[in-house]
Symmetry: C2
Subunit: 201 residues, 2 copies
Amino acid sequence: MNKRQLSAIETKRKLISTAFELIKEKGFDSINVEDITRKAGVAKGTFYTYFKRKEDIVLEISRMPFSEIADEIENMKDMEISQKLSHYFHRFMECVETCGIHICRQWTRDVLDPNNTPDNKDGQKWIYDVEMLKGILNNAVSNGELIQNTPVELLTYIIISELYGMMVSWCMSDGKFEPLEWTDKFCDFQLKTVLKPYIGK
Amino acid sequence: MNKRQLSAIETKRKLISTAFELIKEKGFDSINVEDITRKAGVAKGTFYTYFKRKEDIVLEISRMPFSEIADEIENMKDMEISQKLSHYFHRFMECVETCGIHICRQWTRDVLDPNNTPDNKDGQKWIYDVEMLKGILNNAVSNGELIQNTPVELLTYIIISELYGMMVSWCMSDGKFEPLEWTDKFCDFQLKTVLKPYIGK
DNA sequence: CATTTCGTTGACTAAAAGTCAATGACTTAT
DNA sequence: ATAAGTCATTGACTTTTAGTCAACGAAATG
């Protein structure tokens, strides 16, 4: 990797971290692209070298903390399904808290934005979550933890709904409650209930 | 009420129903304010007599179908809590289907939009839902259906999360599943589980 | 050293949201 | 009946900011 490529990566990194700070503090709509580029020390046009639309940077910002979760789950291969899912829930909400309300708000708005071009679809963490969860469940079916005719697709959507619902409610309520406290107290419980009919052996 | 006031009401009604059709068909971002006013047969400026921002009309559009639910619940005074909640879930999803994916998407985006001015806060169905649910639960506590120290506030948020999570997941998945089918199959079940520890007598 | 590549620049364009002074049909007062 | 006043309506205009692009020049290539 040569000097040019390195500085390009550095420029993009700088833009992402600057945007993270600015959005976390002031909110997405209160800042414009020039605020980001000015603070990052580059020209406005540079932003559009790395991002198609202003909105796209939020997907990248959130990808950072959330992507770690996938690796962590990967390392829990031999643990039982409820532990994996509990961990996933807990860490998801931890990331929600790390990102803060402005970024979670905007992230949700982005994913619901129909102008979000198909090229960005892979920037949608949403997709990964669906696949990751399906993987966890399918795995549990393979090794007999869950019975053969478990409705994996359906359970995936139920579980994801719960998580996203929690995040969205948190944003809507302007952060009135503690996301983590809530997950730890109630989601685990609900999780076990949803899975119970399908537990094998 | 004189002729002028009547025609003003009619103008607003026309704008709302025209916007409903247009947004349902093409999506909020694909149409502009002039598309709405042109089709409604009024000038652009008229839109801003009735709505502060383009976004505000979506809150009004969705208020129409959803507001009926409150009345229906009111008329179920003597029924038991699980029936009330089941009905609420079912009707909520019915309204989601009636509004269609474009409007549900934009509605969620609006409620999460920090530029949504405080004057509009009462246009946010969100608030009504929270209050209505709290009412149902508090009622059940009063008449002994639920035990005295039921955490009403917490349960309210859990139930709402579930509903909104379902709607948001539906929007995110581009309408891949049938909202109503889902609610009827799973939410009732989950609902009963969440309430079980607090059932009185 | 000549040539090409490509990250960077910032003035410029585009698009549509939102404004507001003027209008005239309708209401009210005399 | 007429004048005075009100207010819903109008559409040209302003504002804002996202997004474009031709030109630049430092670094890579041969």
